[in-house]
Each structure stands twice: as structure tokens, then as C-alpha cells.
Amino acid sequence: MTDKALPTTARVLEMHRMMCTIREFDEQAGQALDSGLARGSVHQYVGEEAIATGVCANLAATDYIASYHRGHGHSIAKGVDPVGMAKELLGRTGGVCGGKGGSMHIADFSRGMLGANGVVPDGVSLAVGAAQAVKLLRQDRIVAAFFGDGALNRGPLFEALNWARVYQLPLLFICEDNLYSATQRTGAVTAGPGGVARAQSFDIVTETVDGNDVLAVDAAAARLTARIRDGGGPAYLYATTYRWYGHLAFDKGLYRDPAEVKSWRERDCIARIEAWLIGRGVDKAALAATREAVKRAIDAAYEAARAAPFPDKHHAFTDVQDIGGPAWA
């Protein structure tokens, strides 16, 4: 925390619960893939929970977010129901996308969650457009776009930075730097000081935070979102973090030094905020109770998902397009 009053304990407890929920959801997402219940690509957010939590704590229900392949945490933090997410992950009826999208396309427009995305960093492009729509429609909303460090080297990200600043869009860029893009150490293929310097070269306001410190993320996001809401144009939050597991749930992450993994696990964002809360006088038991409640809720979500039926086959051919859809041909 660099400025002003500390957050209320209630707010921090809420964020703690959120981080536990995200972690539990993604621990079980990994198990779902291992057991064959989920399929395709499942990217776990375990270790990075503080970023989604701290940022979304500063967003209204009507604000928009756009995410990327590692998107479960952002969805949950933005208020998407883990039951609908678990069903989506298992490809069942009642999934947020009716089982058509899977992990990489989880979205819920009723919560302002515009979608995970399978192409790096196309979610950012969509967020730029969402912000443009907000401006055109004179709405009272802001947009937050999450992306990874790997996205720092794809051209569309630069076009987005330039565009957002030229049109002064109400858009918060959030770079979640977990040091790796898939099996690659991103630093090895990223020239210069990195994302912050790049954003600054577009005259975009930036802040850098320890992404494993939810209070720091919360505070920085508070400052930047306030600025954006005041019409200050786009801003850029750079948060360092680490993913505990492999790039994909089945990737064992053998390209990483076990000592590195260990050192980052020791910086666990949840343990850290629990220590802080205990220092503030919160009872250990209360925290344990939260974790248990969360576990029960997520157990129930996956249980509901397992119990839900698969979508009816004919849904394969709905919602392609109104005229010229598959039924037409």
C-alpha cells in the first residue's frame, strides 16, 4: 500500500474469500482435466489470484472486462457463477456458453464478462472496441483488459495501446507477468525494459505492483480506475506474479527451475493476506471457515456440473448465424 487509508477488514475478507474461490475452482479444474471430465485446453490461474481479485474489486457490475486463455479467475472475480463455469468446463447444459465454448471462451455478458479468448491477445482488441462503444453510447462504464506477458510482443497489443490513447478510451490494461509464455521465459524474447516502458511510450499512465499482494493491486487499481472514470483516458497496470502449475493443466512445467517454483509458492498471495488479516485481529478459524465454505461451494459447483446433461446434439448447429446457418445448407 503506498497511499491513503488501509482498506476495511470487511473488504479484505471479501477479497480473501474471492481468492480462495478462484484457487479452489482452478484446483478442481485441473482435476477435471486429469480425470477426463474437462477437455481441450485448461489454463489454471493458481498463484495469480490476487490480480483478478484486486482489480475487479474496483469494478462495478456494469463495467466490462475482457480476458485471455487463463481466464477463470477474472470471470469469478467479475461475478460469474462458478456453477455455470463448471458446467461449461464439463461441456454441459447450463454452462455459461451452453457447452459450446469451454474453458477458453467462458463469458457472461450479464456480468460484464466479455470472454476469455484463445488467441493472444485478441481479448484486448475486443476490450478496445467495448471501450469505444461505451464512449459512443455515452455510457458510464469502464473496461478492463487482462493479458499475459507473452502478449507484450504481439503487434495487436501495440495497436491497442496506441488506439486507446488516441481516442482516450476508458480502458484499463492489466499485464499479468508470470514470467513465462507457455514454455518460454518471456524475458528472453522481450527487448528493453518491457511492458511498462512500452505503454509509457504511448503516453499512457502506468503503475507497477507486486501482483501477489492483493492490497497493492487493490490500491493501484483504485487509483487507476478512478482516473479512468474521471475521463483521464487509458491506464496500464503491470503486476508481477507466477503460475504454480504448468502452462496447461497437463503440462508439468519441467522447463522451470524447481527452486524458482518453490520461491514463488512461498510468496503465496492467499497465505500473505491471511497473515495480514490475522495481524488485524481476524481469527484463524474464521479464515479456515471461509476456505471450507468455499470448498463446499466449489465441490457443489462441479457436482452440479457432473450431474448436468450434455447439450442436445442439435445445438451444434444453432447460433452460427441467422441467415445462412448450417440448417440452410
Binding site: 470472454g115 485478441d122 467495448a130 469505444q132 462503444a133
Partner: protein, 334 residues
Amino acid sequence: MGVMTYAEAARLSLEQEMDRDPRVWALGEDLGPEGGVAGQYRGLQQKFGPERILDTPISESMIMGSAVGAAICGTRPVVELRYADFGFCAADEIVNQAAKIRYMLGGQVRAPLVIRQSVGMRNGMAAQHSQNNEALWVHVPGLVVIAPGTPADTHGLLKAAIRCDDPVVFLEHKELWATSGEVDPQAGPLPIGVARLVRPGADATLVTWSSTLGRALEAADALAQSGISLEVVDLRTLWPWDRDTVFASVRKTGRLVVAHESVRVGGFGAELVAEVAQTMFPALKAAPVRVASPRAPVPYAKPLEDMCRVSADMIAAAVREMLPADPSGPLAGT
């Protein structure tokens, strides 16, 4: 009714749609100062302001990607991609985002947007400014594909495209910008997916679209002189294409020629021929034929460029070849 150019018809159509629906806006390079490369946006920024006619940087990914984002958040963007060749700079955003987002997200959202691309050869624009890419878009689930061949169709179909709740690729031909025709300025949208039987005939069916329509009509005139009656169908919408009109025509004539400017191999003509061959096999009196561009990039020098053009002569020759040996004899019922 009035006579106007293809470019003016497009301009009028967009203006009317922007008057009608405040959610409609356009974005692209060079729309404001001179009104687009063919004046198809002339005066619109002056009328609607720089937010609704947005001059953008040269950022094709963002032009297209942001349009998708804006479309799923309550607006109806008209995307100007300039030359269709640059459409490849935004292919990811078109194929992986615009076309599929409704489906991937389980139908919770639509992407009502129009993707305007100028296609085709014109006067030495060469390999990177002359391409026709309709075959790609027809192959991509989620897209509607329209390619008007006249000012009136441009006027009516651009309206339909803008009102369509799914993404529409709208292909305007460079060689048509300056051509004129009758347009009813008060006309509403034309239906998507309905072809126009431009010229009735009995001996063979010629299916075409965009600028090749002119060549087809010339060919029909020439054939008429030899007593051959060519039915000419302007498809107008390439996806979904008008099966009823095409099938009815082929049922009547028993012969199909498809003519288009784009490369023959893997071109959209292949789809039409394949579908007719599969569905109407017993009705066919002769092998269905495609007349289209050779599989070569478009060259610069005029005599070379001309080698890549589909001419009226080529169309007429293809029709003659598929008819029985004595073209002066009675053909009906053969």
C-alpha cells in the same frame, strides 16, 4: 429514381442507415478528409462528426478487432478495410473473432457488423491490390457474404448488411465504383440471399456476380446473335447463395457456367459447380464449367493483366463449347 454511381449509392445507403439508427458508425483509414478511396464516405464525417465516421491509424488488427468489441457491446460498426488484400491483415480478427463469437459464447451475444472490402483488378494495381477473396469468407462459418454488381444492389444490400445481426462481408469492386445505374434513393433494404435473374434464357445458365456481370451480359448479347439464349443470374449474395433461383435455372437449361474474376482453383465457383453437380446431376445435359482467373498473382503490365481477366469472349466460348455441335439447330429440349 435517379442515376448514380456505385460509389454514390454506397454513400447514400450508409448515410440513410446512419440517419435511421444512431448505433451505426463507421471506422477505417482516410474516411474523413476525402471520403474514402472512392468517395464512398464523402461528406459523412462532416455530417455525422468524427466519432461516428472515425478516422483510424493504419492498424488493421485494431480496426477489425475493436469493431468486434464494439459490436458485441451495443453498436453496429461498419468496418472499412480499404483493399481486400489488406483484409488478410485482419484475417484473424475476422475468422477467429467476428465470425465465431456468437457461437463460441453460446449465443449470448451477436456481432452485428459489416466488413467492407474493395476487391478486384483495376488498371495495374498489381499483385497486392487486386485480389478477390470471397472464397475464403464463404468458407468461414458465421459470415454472410455479399458482392453487389450494380449501384441499386449496392444501395439496397448495404442497408440489409447494416441491419443484419450477424457479421457481413461486403465486397465492393474497384472497377465498379465509377459505373452508373438507376437507383431509387428511397428504396429500402434488399433481401440477403436472393439472386437476380438479370436476363432470362433457355440454353444455358450463367451464374456470376460483381463486375463479371457486365462481361456476362456482353457474352449473352454475342451469343444471342448466334441464336443461343443465355440465362444470366447475378448471385449478389454469395453466402447464403440463392439455391432456388440457380437450381430452377439449371433445371430449365440443363447447363451451368459459373464465371468469376477470382482465381478458379478453390474459387467460389467450385462450390456452386460441386453443389449443382451433387444435387442436380440428372438434370445436367453437359459438364458444368467454370470460367475464372488462372492460378497466378495479378501482374502489372496491361497485356499480362489482361491474361488474368475473364472476358465476354471466354464466357461465350465456354457456353458454345457445352452446346451440341450445331448451334443453329433447335436447342430447346435437347
